[in-house]
Every structure is written in C-alpha cells, then in structure tokens.
C-alpha cells in the first residue's frame, strides 16, 4: 500500500502521534494494529484533506461570516446557520485530486478485502477528544454498509458537515473555541461481514480469574450475543498457556447477516442442523485469545472485547476486533487477600484444616 497522499492515510500508518492528522478514533485503530491486534482494514481521510476541501471556492470565509456574532443560546439562529453551512458544505464538489486519492484507496481496500466495491463504515474521527464533551466535534456520525465510491464520497462529505450541527456550533461558542481551529478526519473501514462473532473477556466474568479468557460466540453478526437474543457457545481459555480448558456448545437459533437489497442487517433462522454445531473453530478460539491477551497488555487491564470472524477475508486475516473497553465488574472490586497473612506453616495448617471438598 505504497501511495502516499496528504489526503488519505492507511490505519496501519497511524499511531498515537497522528491525532492531529486523523483524529482519535483512527489513530487508536492504528495503535491497535501496530500492537498486533487485527481490526477491519481501512483508511482515514485526513484533517488536511478536510482543510483543503473547505478551502476551495472561498467557502471557509463564507462559513465564518455565517457564524459571526451567533449567540450559543439562540437556538433558532443556530439551527438556521447550521442548515446554511451544511448545505454549502454538502454542495461543494471535491477536487479531482481529493476524489482520485479517496477512490484509489477505496479500490485498494476492496482488493485487500476480496470484495468488489467493499461495503464500509464511514465515520467521523474528531481531533480534539481531549475536550470534556466529545460531541463538540460534531455528531460523531457513523454510516454503515456504505458501498461504491460515489456513496463513500457522499458520506465523507456528510461527516465533514457534521462539524456544523447546531449543537456543535453552540458548544464551540460557549467554550470560546475558535471555529477555524477545528478539523475533522473520516475513517473508512471494511464492514465486518461476520459468519461468526461475539464477545471476549480477558478475565473470567464468573469468578474473576485473571488468568482466564472467556469467549462467547454465535453465528452471524455479534448483535445476537450482545443483545442476548441467543445463548452463545462459551469457551474458557487459559491466558498463560493458551490451552482451551472448557467448551459449552449451545443451541443457536437466530443470526444476523446483511441484506444486500437494503444494505442493513437482517435476522434469520439458523438451519436446524447447524444450531448445535460449534460456531467457531478451535484454532480461531486460540487466535482470538492471543489477541485478547495482547489487547489487555496494550491497555494494562482486563478488557471486554467485541470480535468477529469475517467471511470475506482470507483465513489468516479474518479475525477482527471491533470494540474494546475496560472490564468494570471485577476491576472495580477491591481484591481481598485469599489467604490471611502468616508463615508458610500457617498456610499449611490452614490448608490441612480446610481439606479437600468432595462436592
């Protein structure tokens, strides 16, 4: 993926120092990739791309003129200004360079993903997430199952214009944050088209064992697992030896997959003969657990992770991490010592007294 451009940038070329250029979301994706964690492939339209775009046709001046003297509490005025700016932004054509660069990266992405005109998620990636209210940067718009270069470009523009929602404008005025210092990046990322998906905890949520990884999986998209619509298969993996210690296979009656007519996920019945089959193969379980271990190491704490096994990608590149957040239940508990203080002999006495339970 050689071609360099000031307008677009592959996720793997992003890192924690690229927040200015590609926003928080895209730079953290880059961080994960560089830590050996696979996420759906994609690229960012940079803030530089955004700035070049709105510099065209003197639209920047036009925007500032509209914003001049606005009161952050005057909602009707804010709404009117927002509508005007967003219309101007969305009607502004991209430059040929801009279109060519995005189109070239999208074409390459489709090749990587082995899907012609690969469906992607287009989402804004703000540059100033260190501000207390992330909504300042816009609506953090996310558009799913976007397909084809024309649609991709259209939604990039929608993300750009989301910088100028009434709420975002009001917030910046209130916080006295200069409008000309905000910029936005847009992430374009392959939609995980999973044949199986689920969640993973890098701690056993049932007993708090930190040396365990628990994986839940079911067919199709992970929504069934997250929402509790099915009882997923459950696997227990030892985080240190990476051995699969236990498996419970459940009956999984429903699954989501994309309906290409409407480009939206749709619920289907799992064929009866497949319902009680293990929804993820052993090798993938271990692969996933290894990624979980890396994610925990990256964040320095037990994590709660959403993952998917993609059906478009080749076998060695098909397991994706979609979302990772800190585990809260066990992590917030104060860890009481399991043994009273004492010498080895005290512990031995206590252990002999306790004995081995037969139940």
């Amino acid at each position: 993926m050689g071609s360099t451009s000031p307008i677009v940038c592959w996720f793997e070329d992003c890192n924690k120092d690229s927040v200015e250029l590609v926003g928080g979301k895209c730079s953290s994706l880059g961080e994960l990739i560089n830590a050996g964690i696979r996420v759906p492939p994609g690229f960012a339209v940079t803030t530089e791309g955004y700035l070049r775009f709105i510099a065209e046709d003197g639209i920047t001046e036009q925007i500032f003129k509209i914003l001049e003297g606005l009161d952050h509490e005057d909602l009707p005025a804010l709404e009117a200004a927002s509508a005007k700016i967003r219309e101007a932004v969305e009607n502004l054509p991209f430059s040929e360079d801009f279109e060519d660069d995005v189109a070239e990266f999208y074409r390459q992405l489709s090749t990587i993903c082995c899907v012609p005109a690969v469906p992607v998620a287009v989402r804004s990636s703000a540059t100033a997430e260190d501000l207390p209210d992330a909504s300042f940067a816009g609506q953090q718009d996310t558009f799913l199952w976007v397909r084809g270069i024309d649609d991709v470009l259209l939604h990039v523009k929608k993300c750009f214009s989301s910088l100028f929602t009434a709420r975002a404008i009001a917030y910046r005025i209130k916080m006295d944050f200069p409008h000309d210092q905000v910029a936005i990046s847009v992430g374009i990322q392959k939609m995980a088209n999973s044949h199986t998906a689920g969640v993973m905890f890098t701690i056993n949520p049932a007993n708090g064992d930190r040396a365990s990884i628990v994986i839940n999986s079911s067919f199709g998209f992970g929504e069934t697992v997250v929402s509790g619509e099915v009882t997923p298969d459950e696997f227990l993996v030892n985080k240190i030896s990476m051995e699969l210690l236990n498996r419970v296979i459940s009956k999984k009656e429903l699954y989501y997959t994309v309906d290409f007519e409407t480009q939206t996920p749709k619920l289907y019945d799992v064929p009866v003969e497949r319902q009680s089959i293990q929804s993820i193969v052993d090798e993938e379980i271990i692969d996933l657990a290894e990624m979980g271990k890396r994610i925990e190491k990256h964040y320095g704490r037990p994590m709660d992770i959403e993952w998917a096994v993609d059906k478009d990608m080749p076998a060695e590149a098909n397991i994706f991490i979609l979302q990772a957040r800190p585990e809260t239940v066990w992590s917030s508990k104060k860890k009481e010592p399991v043994a009273a203080t004492g010498s080895a002999l005290d512990h031995i006495l206590a252990s002999v007294m306790e004995g081995k339970s037969l139940n």
Binding site: N204, N207, S241, L358
Partner: protein, 610 residues
Amino acid sequence: MSKSFLNPHEIETIPGTEGWERMYPYQYQFVTDDPERKKYEEETFWFYDGLHYPEPLYPFDTIWDEAWYLALSQYNTRIFSLPPVYGVDHRMINGYVYISPVPVTDPKVVEARVPDFMERAGYYYQNWDELEAKWEEKMKGTIAELEALEIAPLPELEEKVVVDDALGESKGYHLLKSYDDLIDLGIRCWQYHFEFLNLGYAAYVTFMGHCQKLFPDIPPQRVTQMISGIDVIMYQPDEELKNLARKAIELSVVEGVKFSKSFDEVKAGLEKTEPGKEWLAALEKARYPWFYVSTGTGWYHHDRSWNDDLDVPLGSIVIYIEKIMAGETIDRPMAQVQQERDRITAEYRALIENEEDLGAFDELLQTAKTVFPYVENHLFYVEHWFHSVFWNKVREIGEIMKAHGFIKDVEDIWYLKRGEIKDALWDLVTAWATNVKPRGPAVWPKEIEERKGIMEKFRQWSPPPSIGPAPEVIQEPFTVVLWGVTNESLDNWAEIDAAADMDSISEFKGFAGSPGTVEGKARVCRTVADIGMLEEGEILVAPTTSPSWAPAFTKIQACVTDVGGVMCHAAIVCREYGVPAVVGTGHATRIVKTGQTVRVNGSTGEISIV
C-alpha cells in the same frame, strides 16, 4: 447429593474362594460380629487403592500395606499431630485393599492438636534439607544392612569353626534370625518412607490450594509445572541408559550391543573384544544402584528390577542407540522445561493483585520446591532399590523352604503370610535340628495350590471404586494428593462400571495430567516388557508407569493410565517431555484396544476412541 453406596458387609464371597480371609491379616476383614466395629465400617467411606494395587495382593506382599498402614498413620496421629486427621484405616475385600482416612471429629481435640503440630511439623519444614540429608544416610544404611544380610542353607553338620570359636549358635537359629532381620529391615525402611512424605504432600496441597483460590480456573498441571524442572534421582536410571547408548557408539560396539535381545548372548559376544569389555564394565558400574529400578511400581514381588532381567535395560539402550543414529536428540529437554516453568510462574505471579497473596504465593512455591525432591526421590530408595533387593532375599528363604519340601517352587512363597513363613521356618529348623520329618511339606503345598485358585478368581473380579457414604471433605494430605479422590472421578469410574460392555464405551475421562491434545494409534502395554512393541508416535495406554518405563516416553505422543493423580510418574514425565497425558482413568487398559485411534486431551482429561 444422593448416591447409593455399597454396604461392605453385603459384598458376596466369590464362589470357590470361601475362607479367603485366612490369607490376610485378620484385622483387614469387614466383620459383623462386633456391633460397634460393624457400624463404623458401614458408616465409613472406603475407596479402592488402585494406585498401589492394580491386582489382588499376594499374602506375603501384604507386608507393604501393613507397613504403610502403620507408618503413615503413626506420623499423622502420634508424631506430627496433624490436627484434623488421624491415620488411614485399611480393609480388604477379595484381595483388594480399601482405605479410609480417619478424621478427628471433635473440634476441641482438633484445636488441642494444633500447638504440637506447629512445633513438630515446623521443625521439619525449617530444617528440611538437613533432615533430608540425614534421611538419605539412614536409608542407605538400611539398604546396606539388607544387602549384607546373609541367608545360609542348613548344613548336615555345622562347620568346625562353631566349635573352635565357641560361637554357641547354629545355622538353624541364624535362619530364624535372618528372616526376622529381613522383615524388620522392611518395616524400618517403611518407617523412614513416611517420615517426610505427608509433610511434603501437605506443603504441595497448600500451594495447589492457594493457586486455586487465586485462579479458580487454574488447571492442576499448571501448578505442578511451576515445581517442574528440578533434577531428581528418579531420572538417573534412564540417564544411565542414555549414557550407555552414547558409550556404545563412542566405542563402536553398536553391532555387538544390538546383536541379540538376550543380554547373555550380547555379553558373550562383547567379552571377546577390548571395547566390548570396556562397555560391559561401564554397564556393570551403572547397575549399582541404578539398575535396581523396578519394572513395575515395586509394590509386588513380581515387579522385577533391571538387575533381575538385563534384557529390559538392553532393549531400552538399543532404542536410544537407534535414536542417536537417526540424528535425534535423547536429552531430556530440561532447559526448555525450566524456561517454560519460569515463564508460567512469572505470568501468574504478575496477575496476583495484592501483597499478602503474592507473599504467600512466593513462600508456598518455595516450600513446594523444597519438598519436591523428597517426594520423588524416596520412591527410588524405597520402592525400587530396597524392594528389589528385599524380594530377592525373600526368594533366598524360598530356596531353603523348597529344598526342605515346604514349597514346590520358590515363587510359591508369596502365597504365605509372613507370619506363616515364620511358623514354617520354626517347623523346618526344629525338624532339621532333631533330624525328624517336618509337618510343613504335607501342609503348605496343598494350601498354596488352593490359594492360587482363589487368587485367580480374585483377578477376574472388578473391585468397586468405593464403598460406603462419601464425606463432604477429605483432609488427609496423602489421600488428597495421590488419589485425587473427587466425586467427579468416582462418578466417572462408576459410570464406566455401570456400562456392562467395555467395548461400547467410546468416551471416558481421567485427570488432566499434562496439557495438549493429540490423536493417534493406541498401544496397550500391560507391563514394561510390552514397551518394546511401541512404535514411534503411538499413544501409550498402561495400568500405571514407573521410572523403568522412561524409554517409552521418548517415543510416544501421549500417555493414558488407569491409576494416578497429577503427581504420578506418568504425569510428571509427560510434562517434562511436553507430551499430553490423562491419568487415573480407572479403566483405560480395559476400554482401549491396541491399534484403535484415540484422541487424548491432556488439558481436560477427555479421551475418545475415534
């Protein structure tokens, strides 16, 4: 939980074995003539000690069971004052030994036993290495006495020296005395056997328990792995074989060594050349004591040592020679084992979240490492070296009894209780002294024939895994470690027992002994003599294994045993070699047939016949 357990008094005598009880000590019987004893026996949980006794006991071999009945129990009850538990009680049904740890039921008594325990056990833990060194001296001294014990035949006329030196004793008296000394040395050796063992197990169980509290999902073999990679003499016999293999190549006597499966033939050939003689000398040097390793567990007289049958080590040496010639390494992967041990320990350690737990972890790990060598090494001294010499001394007694017509064959001696042998020897020496016909030749051969028939019937009987109601908790450390008695394992065994047809079983479970999953062809080896048939990459299925099985472990890709817990020989060696093991399955050798494809999951303990 409600389970219907067997009542020990309702187990029926096998037809044709009536009166079998006379073959064993009378206190081993389940009885109904004493109401108090009957009630105790019915209310107690007895489980079959299949680890030590995969087959019925010969009357003489009962000596070791009585020896440990005494030794283990005295240390718990009378010496170290283990607070919650006394000894382990023993019974016998149809030649099979059933045992039961005896809890201290009164909490006040438990409490009162604590101070003595802390002082006495504390003394041993604190001075472990020093006391263990003393132990080794005591043990070596005992073995030296045993080796020096002379068992002389009875002469027609005593040598003149008896008169010249005014000895005042006869060979008849010496025979009685030698027999008494022999038995005494055996019992003494077992006194030492348990001097450290239960304290060692208690330390080990404590470390295991601490790890399981910190990490509820931790597989037991991950805990034992943290104590692995410590050199113990259990591996030395095998190391000697490897050295002899290397030496054979070095001296270019490979063809001579491989000339025959019979050691006598090989020896005859090698003696003709200088390098051959040098190799034989090296072998001779390795034999004492290392070839006293038993081909079985050492618990039965028929577990012969390598010294008794040099064809066995010869076969293993040839296996190693072939491996070296094929360019394979035969070294135990010690460095890898230690590296992996250190990695696992460090990773678990890093997950411990408070200082108290971390401190206890470090202390208990250190204690477990301190006790580990004894827990392994005593086996070589007692069960292998001492027992191997001992059995042969008893055979010398047998020779004399045979010469006087008391038994038809030396190997018949095992059908007599040791007290009966003493009685017979009295009969023998008094008749010899008096020059009259002893009564024994008309008594014992007939009795022995009958006992042979009884034992044959015992062998065909399947001892139930347990009898009587299971308690909630078992506190006796020995019981906890070696049998890993859990309801789960009893359930597994009971399930298999319930299946009338062993051939119908395609899936069963045991203890996860060494992690990993493999699929391969099974080879059922009932004794170490069968390991010559093992082919590269097969899965070994055995009743149990011992150090003399070591060469097998370089060939196999997994091991399954009938008996044993996570600390048994097969589990330890498999972890060292990094091959999966499932141990304590109860019935693997009866379920699996050689040539079947089996899948062994050493992480979960599951076995399936594919």
